[in-house]
Symmetry: C2
Subunit: 290 residues, 2 copies
């Protein structure tokens, strides 16, 4: 099965558990709405690529890790879109969850997806409890406080923040989790894989800033120009479009260079090059490969 | 160390990890505010009592299970108090988290506490990965969808709900998790312990309804009469104070009767009798023991 199919199948199984008989019907509907259809599934693709590069000897564990990371990402999107944060009306070309289902169910959808991430790990990595223990710790670290995505979002409530702390927590942590969890799911040492995830997280952040500044809403499925509206730092606004594109190219090269020795390193390199092309919509991606 | 000290120590260690260097300071402050000072810590006490009744051969695992359950309970209080749910101004004799820290940090505090519950399990139960696997699954089941506390809260967004489904998910699930997780942490079969937790969950719900109807705000640390204001079902309103007190007595007796065979059954019986007395403020508790 190719990576895309594996990811959608794993996410579908995870969401199906949440919708089991007895679930409140509107919550169940909101949970599926928040997860499907997805974006490019960049983080779980990265996770599976690393797992395969490390031998992928327990595909159920790798699928669970990939799904858990995407569930956390979806949870963070639902909560970040809430009126008390970005008050975003749209996400992935459709109404955001609180617009479609109301604020109470949007809060609960995010909560349930966070829980589901860990439940998915427990179910999928049960064959190797030692790996499960590592995975729960690695994924939790990327999600919570002091340095996960929740902490990243919380920096927006602080009067002073170092841009790098903010971006590392808000974006970098989940990319780093994607690579280390992919390795851990396959029984490899996770730590050497962190740097690759961090480089790709920075590259993605840079691409996201470019999309916000240089694209129209139809291309990115959510309102453009939000960083300026919300007074948030943006690499493309600071460096200009060309400067940000240059930075993105450099970070992508760096990522390729820091791939640890592993059985599937060559394939992994090619996959990461393909995945980073998904960071930008076509109009901008052509400029990077130029 | 007595149970109360074990619980506060375990919670303090869990929160200290969330406040580690690099954490956003206001989030860190809100996290500690949401967990300390606590209420009666009824659920973690129950968890530790069951673990001890089952031999408590890995106290770190039992402490982690107890802390994880209390962290989830605190998370649910923070989110339930939000303006889009109960809009509660007070909790545990002080301003609720969104009043003290604002709505964005209240959402994130709940999120971070959910994550912390699983991180605490991963850290504390590392010596027995097989038990950790069981604990993550049991705790997740009590927290999320289809039948955990998040689902319980989501029933409030449905046009029709069976009262038993609502109360079982909103209150019963975490009590059931307290007993099964206590057993699992000590290496015992968790399933036989579910019924005890469910009985105590029903008893607690009945006591909570009594407190809402029959107590003043100063006694319970939050506004009284909220169920009537919010149009929620309440056993004391349905059965009258005497009827609800009778039901509470019966449920407590049932709980004592369904304790599974275990090395520490006698001590456990006494502990549960003491713990159920904490369900009500003194003015009402005297009526139950009368």
């Amino acid at each position: 099965m190719d990576a895309g199919r594996r990811i959608e199948t794993a996410l579908d199984a995870a969401v199906a558990h949440l919708e089991a008989p007895g679930a409140p019907p509107r919550l169940a509907e909101a949970l599926r709405y928040a997860v499907f259809p997805g974006g490019h599934r960049i983080r779980p693709r990265l996770c599976l690529s690393v797992a395969r590069a490390c031998g992928d000897d327990d595909p159920a564990a790798a699928d669970a890790a990939a799904a858990a990371i995407e569930l956390l990402h979806c949870a963070s999107l639902v909560h970040d879109d809430l009126p008390c944060f970005d008050d975003a009306p749209m996400r992935r070309q459709k109404a955001s969850v609180h617009v479609a289902f109301g604020e109470p169910l949007a809060v609960l959808t995010g909560d349930a997806l966070i829980v589901a991430a860990f439940e998915t790990l427990a179910r999928g990595a049960a064959r190797h409890p030692q790996r499960l223990a590592a995975l729960v710790g690695l994924v939790a670290r990327a999600a919570g406080s002091p340095a996960g995505i929740v902490a990243g979002q919380a920096w927006e409530s602080e009067p002073y923040v170092a841009l790098s702390d903010y971006q590392q927590a808000k974006t970098g942590a989940l990319f780093a989790a994607s690579t280390v969890a992919g390795a851990a799911a396959a029984g490899a040492q996770p730590l050497p894989w962190r740097l690759l995830g961090e480089c790709l997280g920075e590259a993605y952040q840079c691409a996201d800033d470019l999309r916000d500044v240089a694209c129209r809403q139809e291309e990115i499925g959510k309102p453009a120009g939000r960083d300026a509206t919300l007074g948030r730092p943006n690499a493309a606004a600071l460096l200009g479009t060309d400067g940000a594109l240059e930075r993105l190219k450099r970070l992508t090269r760096e990522a390729i260079e820091v791939i640890p020795d592993c059985p599937g390193a060559d394939t992994l390199r090619a996959e990461i090059e393909a995945q980073t092309r998904l960071f930008l919509p076509k109009s901008l991606a052509n400029l990077v490969s130029a």
